[in-house]
Each structure stands twice: as structure tokens, then as C-alpha cells.
Point group: C2
Chain length 552, copies 2
């Protein structure tokens, strides 16, 4: 009965250990190599993806009254895939009908099924890479990693935490209370996990799997049914995911409708109907702050976990590796054209310049150093395309154009030459600290501001204040003064921002590693939850007891 649990138990044990130690660990290899995934995996994945195009995506038995689907790749092609679609009421009814057997399944059964789903998703990583690439605009290598193994690691992390929490209370105990000279009162007590009900996962366009898997697997493993609502522009990665979940559930004798796809059309989204439905007990949301606020206000008594938007900052106070710093910042600004929730937007630099290993550098020296590093990084169009990928949403291109008037352009955005895709390299603007209308708004995409501040301390204060006000997921600091570093550590922590200090080389502020980095703190407006901590899973189920006198 628990064969899947037994099969995957070593992975679960390693994940639990990794989450405890928080060093580097990964269950699913991030290198898209035939040596790891099988020599034919790359070709097979592409073939599988191509076979999806221009057809209806079959989800056997899935409730549907119609078909939707209008995905267009940021790299140009129309996907031409349609998906089964139903209104919120029909999805809710189907989800409820599937719920009681899943709620009654044992912890080991559910955990085993979730681990098997993740293992199968891992084997589909090449197909998933194409699906993610052509819905998000991520370059292939990033789409493979972020859409495949890294997302699977985040899913596994949630499953591991869920397992730990569901097994924290023993299934039974004997309660033996002495009564002085009288007979002791002895009760047997039994506890069981009670899931909340229906869990709604609202995905985003840019990271459809990475941002959805934690909530999806946390809810599924704790016995809730899940309704996965993809962004209309990035349905395929989550359709593949739901397809695999339904396949494994069916094989194990459970109703496929425990996992449903809530595909819908842009302009006719069913998200609000789902959120407002009283039967939805959990909502995981990734997306804009404005809709996030709506979700939080209209979800009734449902538990709501959000990752919303923020404005991430870098403060440049001093450095003993000016070239390494510029290269590192350049990569962070260019990677996926600034479309990561962890990408920096504001770079605070003292107007009087900074001390570096190359001597004093003026404000303009620092700005031009970063610009030169970007130009160098993106000089080769093929390499540029591999770093920047494409722009997921046409609105982002318009936003870049509109932003050009917000400050002094020190690097203009441009399409990447010779690439058939909607592309835009970083726009870099120099502004003064007082121009808050320019740089204190979130401007999603390849838009960054080099902000002139009185001194480093003022830059830290402004970045921290902005994080408290608008939210921030990441911050970076370059400095060599221990006292100022310590003060910055305190200030960013108090504002709930994870801080990276003096990153150079092959590690970037944008990166968040499963089992080690908690993604989003939940302590500022960038989100109310963290991927993945105990709080993210512990309230997705409740514990009910029965007790009776113990007979000898």
C-alpha cells in the first residue's frame, strides 16, 4: 500500500536532513545533460513538446464544458494548444466530490504519491523546459533549471515539511493521570490529520511551476484537493503538471479530480469566482500586489499565502573587487531581462562616489562600470539571448519605453540583434534620491535606476524604508566596513528582506536555493508567506482527536 513511500523514502529523508542543516542540497540535477537524464532525453523532450502543439491537451475525465487556450511564445510561435475548461462552480463540485477519499488516505500514501509525481515530473524536465521557455520567455537553460529541477526541489521541500508537520503528533497515546490514592484515569487518545478542503493555486506567467509547486504540493500532501489556476499565457507547464498528478492518482486508485486545471482565457478569467467561493479553504497566489490585495480581501475565511511584488535594492557603499562587483550586478540586471521577482531595480550609490580596490570611483564611474559590464555581458547576441531570454508580456516592452523619460539614460534598452523573439536589454537610468516618483514604484522588467544618495548609510535607510513600504524580496550590499555591514544586516532583517553581501563570481542576488534559502520572508508587503517554512504548511491541515477510557 505504501510502496511509493518506501521507494522514495531515501529522498524524503535526505530532504528533511537538508532542510534542517540548510547547506547545499538538491534532489533533482539542474544540468540538462544526457548523461544524467538519458542520452535521448533532450530529443525526446523536444519531440514531446512539439507533439503538444496545435492540438487539444487531453486530460481524461477532467470536467469541461468548453476549450480555451491562446498561448503565444515570446519567441514567436503560436502554440495552438487548447485545454479543457469549465466554470468555477463545476470545478468546485468535482473537487469536492474527490475530496473525502483523499482526506482519508494515510500520510504515507499521500506523501508517497506526491514523491512519485515529483520523480515523474523530473523525468519530463526537457519537455517542461520547452513548455516553460515558450510561455515565459526564459532562455532554454534557465527554463530547464527554474521550470524543472529547481521547481521540483521546491515541491519536494514542501512535501518534506508537510511530512514533518503531519507526523509531529503521534497517531495515538495513552494518557495516564494519577489520582492520589484512587485509581488513575487512563484514556487512549487518537489523532488524525484533517485537511482544510479545496486548495486554489494561482500561478503567474513568469515562473509557472517554480512559484506554484510549493503551495500545490504542500496542499496536496496534507490531503487537500487542488485546483490549479494558471496564467492564461502560461497554461502548458501547469497542464503537464496536472496531467502527471492525475495519472499517478489514477494509478494509485484515487480520483484524478483531486487535481484540476482551471484553464481560462485572458479577459474572461475565473479567478475571482474561485477565490470568492466559500468552498475554497486555501489560496496560494503569485502575482501583482494589486490583485494580491484583492485576493487577500475577498478570500473569506480561506488561508491565503501570497508572493506579491516589491522593489529590490542594491546598495553600493564600497568594494574591494570593483570589476567583480560590476560584472555580478550586470548579470543580476540582465538575467531573464529583470523579470524575476528577485531581480534588483534600484542601485543606491553615494553621489560623492565610493572607495574601491581601483581607487576612488565617482558616482558616474560606478554607473558606467555597471553599464560597461552589461554591454560586455551582452556583446555576443547568442550569449545575450541566453542570458536575457525574451519578454513574457508585451506590456513589459511598453513599460520599458515609457520608463525612458524617468531619468538620465545611461544605458538604453534595445532588442537583441539577430534573435527572433520579443527581447529588451536592460534600460539603466540615473536619478537622484529625491526622484521617488521614478524609482520608488515597482517597474517590472529590464528597468533599473542608479540612485544618487548622500552616502551609503542614507542609501541603506532609503532601501530599507522602501522595502517596508512597497515590499522587497532581496537586497544586496557591497561594502568593506564591518560596522556599516552590521547595521545594514540589522536594518534589512528588521524590514524582512534577505540580504546578500559582496557577491561576485557565479552566485547572484536573484538566486534562491531550495532547502537553504527561504524565498520571501513574509515580513514585508512583497508577500505574506515564505517558501518554504513550517508556517507555510502547518495550517493547511488541522488535527482532530477521539479519546475513550482505556480498557486493560
Amino acid at each position: 500500500m505504501d510502496a511509493l513511500f518506501d521507494r522514495h523514502q531515501p529522498t524524503l529523508a535526505a530532504a528533511l536532513k537538508a532542510a534542517e542543516v540548510r547547506g547545499y542540497w538538491s534532489a533533482y540535477p539542474e544540468i540538462p545533460s544526457g548523461k544524467i537524464y538519458g542520452e535521448s532525453a533532450r530529443d525526446d523532450g523536444l519531440a514531446s513538446y512539439n507533439a503538444r502543439l496545435g492540438r487539444h491537451f487531453e486530460l481524461p475525465g477532467h470536467p469541461a464544458t468548453t476549450q480555451v487556450g491562446a498561448e503565444v511564445s515570446p519567441f514567436g510561435a503560436t502554440l495552438g494548444i487548447t485545454y479543457p475548461a469549465a466554470d468555477a462552480g463545476m470545478l468546485i463540485t468535482a473537487s469536492q466530490a474527490a475530496g473525502s477519499a483523499w482526506a482519508a488516505a494515510s500520510v504515507k500514501t499521500r506523501i508517497g504519491i506526491c514523491l512519485e509525481i515529483l520523480a515523474r515530473l523530473n523525468r519530463l524536465s526537457f519537455e517542461m523546459a520547452h513548455a516553460v521557455m515558450h510561455t515565459t520567455g526564459q532562455a532554454f537553460a534557465m527554463a530547464f533549471q527554474a521550470g524543472g529541477p529547481h521547481a521540483q526541489d521546491r515541491g519536494l521541500e514542501a512535501v518534506a515539511y508537510a511530512f514533518a508537520e503531519m507526523t509531529r503528533t503521534p497517531p495515538q497515546a495513552v494518557w495516564n493521570k494519577p489520582q492520589g490514592k484512587g485509581d488513575a484515569i487512563i484514556l487512549e487518545k487518537h489523532w488524525r490529520i484533517v485537511p482544510r478542503g479545496i486548495s486554489l493555486v494561482i500561478g503567474c506567467q513568469t515562473f509557472p511551476t517554480w512559484n506554484s509547486y510549493p503551495g500545490l504540493f504542500a496542499s496536496l500532501s496534507t490531503g487537500n484537493t487542488v485546483i490549479v489556476k494558471p496564467h492564461p499565457g502560461a497554461i502548458l507547464p501547469l497542464a503537464i503538471t496536472v496531467s502527471v498528478i492525475r495519472q499517478v492518482l489514477s494509478e494509485e486508485g484515487y480520483a484524478a479530480d483531486i487535481a484540476l486545471l482551471a484553464a481560462d482565457a485572458s479577459g474572461a478569467e475565473i479567478t475571482r469566482d474561485l477565490v470568492e467561493n466559500d468552498a475554497v479553504s486555501i489560496v496560494d497566489y503569485t502575482g501583482s500586489s494589486s490583485f494580491g490585495e484583492w485576493v487577500r480581501k475577498h478570500a473569506g475565511s480561506a488561508q491565503v499565502y501570497t508572493e506579491e511584488a516589491g522593489v529590490n535594492s542594491i546598495v553600493i557603499a564600497a568594494t574591494d573587487d570593483f570589476a567583480g562587483m560590476c560584472a555580478n550586478v550586470a548579470f543580476s540586471l540582465s538575467l531573464y531581462s529583470g523579470q524575476m521577482c528577485t531581480a534588483p531595480q534600484n542601485i543606491y550609490v553615494p553621489k560623492g562616489g565610493i572607495q574601491t580596490n581601483e581607487g576612488h570611483k565617482s558616482f558616474d564611474d560606478v554607473a558606467t562600470g555597471i553599464v560597461a559590464a552589461i554591454d560586455d555581458l551582452l556583446a555576443n547576441p547568442v550569449r545575450a539571448a541566453g542570458v536575457c531570454g525574451a519578454i513574457a508580456n508585451a506590456a513589459t516592452v511598453s513599460r520599458v519605453e515609457a520608463a525612458r523619460s524617468l531619468g538620465r539614460i545611461i544605458r538604453d534598452s534595445a532588442p537583441i540583434a539577430a534573435v527572433e523573439a520579443r527581447t529588451a536589454t536592460p534600460l539603466i537610468l540615473a536619478v537622484d534620491a529625491e526622484q521617488t516618483d521614478a524609482h520608488e514604484e515597482e517597474r517590472f522588467g529590464p528597468i533599473a535606476f542608479v540612485v544618487g544618495v548622500a552616502d551609503a548609510t542614507a542609501g541603506i535607510a532609503q532601501a530599507v524604508s522602501l522595502a517596508r513600504q512597497k515590499g522587497a524580496i532581496t537586497a544586496a550590499l557591497y561594502d568593506v566596513h564591518d560596522g556599516r555591514i552590521e547595521a545594514a544586516v540589522d536594518a534589512f532583517a528588521a524590514a524582512g528582506v534577505n540580504l546578500s553581501i559582496n557577491l561576485t563570481g557565479g552566485i547572484f542576488v536573484n538566486q534562491s536555493a531550495a532547502f537553504s534559502d527561504f524565498h520571501v520572508t513574509g515580513a514585508n508587503p512583497a508577500g505574506n508567506a515564505s517558501l518554504t517554512d513550517t508556517a507555510f504548511v502547518a495550517n493547511r491541515f488541522r488535527t482532530a482527536m477521539w479519546r475513550r477510557p482505556k480498557t486493560a
Copy 2:
């Protein structure tokens, strides 16, 4: 620096072990005995209580613009105590000012201080017993236990869970990611606990300490400041509590205002102002469902933990100890005159009667059996007063009177003879299952319905349905058929109700033991949280990281 932690570490370790094993354990003796608490403890406690009467309750340094206080004992006397009082804005400002140093205190420092506070509260248990007795109407023995050691156990339980969650992530780790043939990327990472901010604890009149301590100590130990808002009729127990907290904080070099008392006057409560204030990040609420709904809707982005109201049921299907069952039910209905949130209200009995060890018993036999057991229990007025205590709120007496027309009176309520107090023994009404207007409303106080149902299965179904709709904290079942018991276990668990089966002798459905029973499941409208599970503490703080390249 962590002397308090070291002193109390054995208690903490034992609490953690108890919460894991969930057998019987208690840190604070529940017997009001001089052998345990000191030969003079009883007299000293009474003297201390008496010394409070008719005076201003001093809280040195506490913000105040005026004084409030109009407590009247349900046993007759006017307490005549006034308390420092301020508006919500002044309390919030003082709480914020005290916050940063407390947030920066180490986990061990905060946990040590909380454990010291609990130890001192334990030594004040006799004084607290009088304070609880004369604000809630509990008889002395119950006031001692529920207001003192049992509440302290619940506080310790919260501290233990908080310690476990705050230490789950290591303070630091090394993240070493291999890079094939290249140099590994090595980061040092550091995590710290970030409290949410101000925590508001809204107490109730009937269990001012027991229901407040879990949220209070969970928030305080995780680094939040606390504002304790007592019911205007039961300020003294929480004023004593806040006084002890402030004393220990001051001794340890922290601002006393980390804990504030939000005393107010009936009809001029400041609760709404506090709940609606954006600076309040956590709200713990115990009270009516109607105000609970208001709190949940108006608390903004604050985390809200509630225990609201419900309708608890007993289903009598069969018994092999008819006398024991009747005596047990009689005590559950009589204890503190039904003013416990765990007290049963509805007793479902098949219209055709039940099988018992005394042969077949008709519906009326069962009803009169329970009535006779109550009459027997309460025959001696002194014993009756010891069981029933007094009625906390005059409105409850009116509710009993109004309820007399709701069904066939099979036992009338009456004052307890020869007791100087506002008392009322249980009113028992027989009704038919269809009279839902009568028995499916919560009727707080000594009011119970014996509800005639088609059969036991119908009774279980009706109790479960009612729990889902109106909430329930407890349920009891008397039965001898394994299959029906198993079905009831499943049904009540799915409705989020803790179920007690075949209780006879000295253990009652009303009772919930710290470290073993989770009080309220959070899975039905009786409350959204559980005292105390991981979910109750894990989201009261967040975790922030800083990381940098590790130098050799």
C-alpha cells in the same frame, strides 16, 4: 545573560517531551495544597487579593490618562479596583517604542524570561484563584485550577512550541555548491527571528487567563510586544498577569511596556480601535462568534487566531454503564453552570430509546436518568455551589429564563439555596429533532436540550451537521457498537470536532489537558486556531537571512 533560561531549562525540556509524547504531564500542580504551595500560601493569597480591593492597581510606568474599573463579583461584592487606562493610540505608541530591544533579544533570553514569568505566576496561584473566582464566578477549586496551574500549563505549552519553532532553523550554515571542475561556490548564511510587531490579546470573562495565556506567551516569546485587552468584567486576573510580566521584564533590563494592559469600561471598549490599527500584527481573540467575525474582517493584514462559540453535542446511542453515563453527563452539564466553551448543550437520544446494561431505556428514561443524576449531584447546596459556581454575567440568567419556553421542561433551573451569589442550576428541556430553532442556536449557560432523534445514526448526523454549520469544540458519544463508533469517529473528525467516547467516572468531555489535548481544532466555525499546535506559533515570527561569500 541566559541565567533564567538555564534555571528553567529542565521545565522546558520536559514540556517539549510531553508535547511530543502527549501523555499526561503538568508542570504546575493543580492541587491547592499547602504541602505543595507552602503552608501559608492559601492565607497569603487571600490576603494579597483582599489588599487589592477598593484601591488603584498600580502598574509603575504604565501609560495612562485615566482610570477605569467596575468589576463586581458574581458572588456579590464590588471589587472597587481601578486600573490605569489609555486610548488605543497611546498604547500602540508605547508598545512600538518598547519593541526593537525585545525583538533583538536572543531566543534564549526571551524564553528564559517567559519561563520565569510563568514560575512567578504559579507562586501567585492562590491570589489568582480569588481574582478569577470573583470575576468569572468559578467556584474556588476550579478558579484555582483553571485560572492558575492549568492556564500556566497552557502558557508553558505555547512557550515550548515557540522555542521549538524558533530553533528549527540553525542560526548559521555553510552552503557549498560544487561547480564541476571549477571552484565550489561557498556562502555563509545567517538566519534570525523577526517578530511581527504588536500582538493584541483579547480576553474573555469566563476564562481570562486560561484562554489568554497561549496567545500571550506565544507572541511574547517570539519577540512581539503584547497588549492585553481584558473583558471589562474580568480585568484583575490579567492585570496581575501583566504586572508580573512587567516586573520580570524590568528586572532583566527590558522595557516594562513590552506588556501593556488595555483596561477599558463596558460600553466604552477600545477593542475596535486596537484591532483596526495597522500597527497591530497579531490578534488573539476569545469570545462571541459575532464579534469574532468582526475581528476577522477588520484586522487587516494581522494574523488572527480565534476561539469563538459553538454548539457542543452528546449522542447517546447505547451504554453498558447507564448510571455512570448519567452521572458523567450530569457533571458536564453542571460544572461552572455550563459556562465552559467545552460544555455540552444538545443531548441526542433516539425516540425509541436505547439498549443499556439495565435493559432497554426509553427516551424519557434516559432524560429522567440524567435529570436525577443532576439532582443527586446538586442536592447538597454547598457541593452544588462548588460544582456550579456562580453566573458570570447577568445576561446569562435572563437567557435561562427566556429558554424555558423552548421545549418541554424536564428539569427547571433554580438558584442554589443558601448561597450568596448569582447562581442557576441546569435547565433541561426535551425537544424534537425538528425544533431546530430551539436547540441549534448557541444558548450559553446552564441550558441543555435532550433532543429526540430517529436513531443514533441520525443523532450523529445532526450533531456533525450542526458542528459544521455553527461550530463545536467537543462532542461525546455513548455507544457499544464498534461499527457505529468508527463511523462517528470519522464523521466528527471530518467536522473538526474532538470526540470523547463512553466517559464515566472522574473525566469529563469539558476537560482539555495541556500537552495532550489540542483545544479547538480550527476546522469548524468554533475557532480558526488550536491551543496549542505548531500553526499557532510558527507564523508569529518570520525568518530573515543574510549571506556572503565565505572567506577561508
